[in-house]
């Protein structure tokens, strides 16, 4: 059973301009997405830059005003509720940012950075708090003496782990991870991903894992949504998306991923050309005249594709 449901979520930003600085247009950053979260599962959100991934993440934890739609958390409607200390939703849903550097206050010591959510949401004595911080540092594999240091004294991978320590401080149920490893080198990325899997397995955490890297998402996630212009073009299990992609956009994305083997690369290049031709030819079955993605149609128990019902395979 899912503990959180997102229904037809929209976040529209007004675009102001003209002589009177009035609203002249809307950016439909998120334009009607629906999803739900089950305990212990990882959900991938993939798409090219500007498609609305970060806005989705921020809207889910209440950092972005929701234009319409709803978020139901454990049966309670939490849409556009102010972030506050009493709310279990705010305690249970945390976020990790891509740029660990700018998400950590440079003037605060590590101890106070990690203590912030603890002070907000948990009633601990100073002694308990101190112990908790030590434990969190241990979980993320950082030495005890990190407590008294400042963020700039750490490498990118270490900062990302400090961000994770802060995010798990309140024993959350869901962590929204917005490109958590995109800025990291391969070996450091591996360390952070392994670690995220470990804590997930141990504590039954759920993730909304936002990334543009389909390799990373495949490694981390059970369920994947492909996003384009604020809407989902396709959603399904890992197997649905990677072995049975249906939407032309998903197919193009998959065919563009470099393979870590030179064997067969000429064929892959030809395949990319074929997929691109197919993309142009089938366009009208997948996007309306304003390039808006159609509503999702069900193709199997787990698999949904946004297309006209003319497309073969739709239930």
């Amino acid at each position: 059973m899912s503990f959180m449901q997102i229904n037809d979520l929209k976040v529209h930003y007004p675009v102001r301009g003209g002589f009177f600085n009035t609203v002249i247009d809307q950016v439909l950053a998120v334009d009607g997405i629906t999803m739900e979260f089950e305990r212990g599962k990882a959900y991938g959100l993939v798409g090219e830059s500007g498609c609305g991934k970060s806005t989705t993440g921020k809207a889910l934890i209440g950092l972005e005003k929701i234009t319409s739609g709803s978020i139901i958390y454990e049966g309670e409607n939490v849409t556009n509720k102010r972030r506050n200390r009493k709310s279990s939703f705010n305690r249970d849903v945390q976020m990790i940012f891509q740029d660990a550097h700018s998400s950590l206050n440079p003037r605060k010591r590590v101890r106070d950075i990690i203590a912030e959510p603890i002070r907000n949401f948990l009633n601990l004595t100073p002694k308990e708090e101190e112990r908790k911080i030590s434990e969190l540092l241990e979980i993320v594999g950082m030495p005890e003496d990190a407590k008294l240091k400042y963020p700039h004294e750490f490498s990118g991978g270490q900062k990302q782990r400090l961000g994770i320590a802060r995010a798990i401080a309140t024993n959350p149920k869901l962590i929204i991870a917005d490109e958590p490893v995109s800025a990291l080198d391969l070996s450091v990325q591996a360390q952070v991903l392994n670690f995220m899997k470990d804590i997930q397995n141990e504590f039954g955490l759920s993730y909304l894992f936002i990334s543009h890297d389909l390799g990373v998402v495949k490694h981390m996630c059970d369920h994947i949504s492909i996003m384009y212009k604020g809407r989902f073009v396709e959603t399904g299990t890992k197997a649905d998306i990677y072995t049975n992609p249906q939407h032309i956009y998903t197919k193009r994305l998959l065919s563009a991923i470099p393979e870590v083997s030179p064997v067969g690369r000429e064929n892959r290049k030809r395949e990319r050309i074929r997929v691109e031709q197919n993309y142009q030819a089938e366009h009208k079955n997948y996007f309306d005249e304003n390039e808006r993605v159609f509503d999702l149609l069900q193709v199997s128990n787990t698999h949904y594709v946004a297309s006209t019902s003319q497309v073969k395979g739709v239930l």
Binding site: N171, S187, L193, N194
Partner: protein, 342 residues
């Protein structure tokens, strides 16, 4: 140099001055670039890839940088040329493509003029000839409406279009060598694929030698003919692309491969390389530089002064530790008290 060799780098040392000491970020690199091939240089950030590129093309602060060794090209040693002499070569015989197309373009100049600049400087083409060459170049890099794009400014183009423009500028004077430093790192994966395919096609047309710098082994696999892997300022392995991917030998190369979340791998855990990449001032300057990252491999496995050994024709590996190397088994995470108490 042999007939098909365009560029030969011999024992290049490029150091940056920090306080009063020079620290070599490129520390004894030798490489050959042949006509009609794509040589990939791969390694994690800070290993010296960009420093190598800027040394070849002479784009560094002369007061803070020390370049020693030979960069042989067209019967000249580029490392010994003056700034003026390099200006005549750069953008003409050797050109460069950078990671960030926006900062490489002048925001106030129309696209057409920016492509034309190199032609004005390096060729004797007349204005009308230059203008038609600009349109031809835009077409060549896959821009469908060259007339319109030539009149536009950089901010009016998407990231992928801008990188195409950068490539048009780079190939304008038909260079013999193109150095591309992370040319697709800032782009979305579909655009990356298009740009890489374009580079491959242009390379085949122009027969230029391309040095492709990247941190992405997937990109290497898709486009390179030959690969040099760098770690801490040195090349630690070099081979033809098929050979490197089929038979990686150096512990660093193998470790990198095992840390990639691969599309078709079922393994749950990724390989983590112990320790951190040392900063420039703290680079180990003797012995095997990778030894501290694989402490479970006994010291005797390493050479005292590691050199590149040709272990099969065209396949070079630094140090001897690869013969003894094995991965350490990763136990994974234990139970943490904190959550167990919940």
């Amino acid at each position: 140099m042999k007939g098909n060799e365009l560029l030969k780098i011999n024992n290049l040392h490029t150091g940056f001055r920090i306080k009063d000491t020079f620290y070599d970020a490129v520390d004894g690199v030798s490489l050959t670039v042949k006509k009609n091939e794509i040589l990939a240089i791969v390694g994690e950030s800070g290993c010296g890839k960009s420093t190598l590129a800027t040394s070849v093309i002479g784009l560094y602060d002369q007061n803070k940088t020390r370049v020693q060794g030979e960069i042989l090209f067209d019967n000249k040693n580029l490392a010994a040329l003056s700034e003026e002499q390099m200006n005549d070569i750069r953008g003409f015989q050797i050109s460069m493509i950078f990671q960030d197309p926006l900062s490489a373009l002048n925001p106030l100049m129309r696209i057409g003029e920016q492509i034309e600049e190199g032609l004005v400087y390096h060729t004797t083409l007349k204005q009308t000839e230059r203008e038609s060459r600009v349109l031809e170049l835009l077409q060549q890099v896959g821009i469908r409406n060259p007339e319109r794009v030539a009149k536009q400014f950089p901010h009016q183009l998407s990231g992928g279009m801008r990188q195409r423009v950068i490539i048009a500028i780079a190939i304008a004077c038909k260079p013999q060598i193109i150095i591309a430093d992370e040319p697709t790192t800032a782009l979305d994966v579909t655009i990356q694929a298009q740009i890489l395919d374009l580079l491959i096609d242009l390379q085949a047309e122009t027969e230029a030698g391309i040095i492709l710098i990247t941190h992405d082994l997937g990109v290497v696999a898709e486009v390179a003919d030959r690969v040099a892997v760098m770690y801490a300022g040195e090349i630690i392995e070099e081979a033809a692309v098929e050979e490197l991917f089929a038979n990686p030998k150096h512990p660093y190369t193998r470790s990198l491969f095992n840390s990639i979340p691969q599309m078709n791998s079922q393994s749950d855990r990724l390989n983590v390389i112990e320790g951190i990449v040392p900063s420039l001032m703290n680079l180990p300057r003797s012995g095997c530089r990778f030894s501290s990252r694989i402490p479970w491999i006994p010291g005797e496995a390493h050479e005292e002064n590691p050199t590149l050994h040709e272990i099969s024709p065209g396949h070079f590996v630094r140090c001897t530790c690869w013969k003894e190397f094995h991965f350490k088994t990763d136990k994974g995470g234990g139970t943490h008290e904190l959550y167990a108490n919940k």
